[in-house]
Symmetry: C2
Subunit: 276 residues, 2 copies
């Protein structure tokens, strides 16, 4: 998916919501546990309930790999079921020496129809570049994450700037706003201004709203660009809004409340641009 | 596998060789391409040819994921075929927020019978700790890698030390030499003394010998500990020693030459210890 296609989706749906399919078998309602593929059965209902309210789905590969071959099959079926109308993120945090990163890129971009993969930057340029070499595909590189461990390395001083700032500054030189995004956690409100000074045009994937406590209003007010430039991910708060048979309608209600909070920002940002 | 069991394997086989099963379908001999599962067929012959010469096998997950469900099945079959007599490494470079890292740990330690997973440190403590909480299992955290991109972040100054030094110093406080190893590339000869000053007792997983040009002699002379403390990985140089029907015997010959170079170091290090 190209950048302009993604922006058009955001405009059409009045939403920059990404639904995170971190599907945990132990939290799937009891009535689905006997299905032949309970993870896919759950995902299918969540997708049907949220498809018109979000522009993106993010599949956290850990929650599929932990079920081996069956889990990988559920991943493939889910990607296929979503189809081409959403920006598809493999939240895989991959990154290795060049020939290995190329294999990961093939896994997610060619074998599966993902638009993007999340990438860890520690190993540097040759570990990231292979993900940037597939037309219409994206690398989403970790910048400043939402977890407490962000302080261990990401927030350490590296020659007068913080490591995550060095990462944003360096990695943004390897790609363009058309094939590169960054992960910045919703809980890192104090850093949004600095992030936008370093990467004013790149889309940000923002996890950490909902279960992790980040504020959608703070993100929208302080990190949006003239193209919106945000994909805000919510996983557990939508997936597990209800533990019983009503889980899909509860998920829809939760997703709708996020979409309704996003709509005015989308209208304001993209209408102003239309008039201008 | 415990640390003392691993050291016993090294003593018994006169070897600290790890064979890296980065099995690339495009490099498998033609006569295996028509097998029902060519990757497993290839791995099986490599394992049969090298089993007595190495103490460890490292499966690079990228080379399996790129074939989807079939690839993941080949990974499972390979792990099962190797069995319990080797230290099994999932070279997966994983790492995510705590609940996700726990799922990855379950994928490799419980669903599959790996002894260890390689882990990227960027996201900090809560992304690493879940891998340290499974008895008899290990996290192998990236320290200083063998690729050119190591200079982008790993070799940057962080408050008077290099980032990889900070990683070794900080992460070594989260685990012990009984559940934590570090990756240090064979091409980083100049850094071995500094690495050993920071982590004198931890095992190192050392990739980069063979196709990437690292020297086995330099590693063995400058990075071994009183328990050997090394797993030296060779992948392409063994797997693809011959492109035809003789690939397995060529792989054995190449593995044997590495084992023979290692034997005197093992004898010297572990005999001295026995006498002492």
């Amino acid at each position: 998916m190209t950048r302009s296609e993604l922006i058009q989706l955001i405009r059409d749906r009045g939403s920059y919501l990404c639904v995170g399919l971190d599907t945990d078998l132990s939290r799937i309602p009891a009535h689905l546990q006997d299905e032949e593929d309970p993870i896919f059965a759950f995902n299918k209902e969540i997708i049907d309930a949220t498809r018109d309210l979000c522009v993106s789905y993010k599949l956290n590969t850990a929650f599929y790999e932990c079920y081996g071959v069956e889990g990988w099959r559920a991943l493939e079926r889910t990607v296929s079921y979503i189809g081409p109308g959403h920006f598809l993120i493999a939240d895989a945090k991959r990154g290795d020496i060049g020939n290995t990163s190329t294999q990961y890129a093939k896994a997610f971009f060619e074998r599966l129809a993902f638009d993007s993969v999340t990438v860890a930057p520690y190993m540097g340029e040759d570990s990231v570049r292979p993900f940037l070499e597939f037309p219409g595909k994206w690398a989403i590189v970790l910048g400043l994450t939402s977890n407490s461990g962000a302080s261990d390395f990401e927030l350490q001083d590296v020659g007068g700037e913080l490591l995550y700032e060095r990462v944003l500054r360096t990695v943004s030189g390897w790609g363009t706003p058309d094939n590169l995004m960054f992960v910045v956690g919703a809980t890192q409100t104090q850093a949004f201004a600095r992030v936008r000074a370093l990467v004013p045009d790149h889309f940000l994937l923002v996890p950490g709203v909902g279960a992790q406590g980040g504020s959608l209003a703070a993100i929208s007010e302080h990190a949006a660009t003239g193209d919106v430039g945000l994909l805000v991910n919510v996983s557990r708060d939508i997936l597990y809004a209800d533990a019983g048979r009503g889980f899909a309608s509860a998920a829809r209600a939760r997703a709708l409340s996020y979409q309704q909070e996003m709509q005015p920002y989308v209208d304001k940002i993209l209408q102003v641009k239309n008039i201008g």
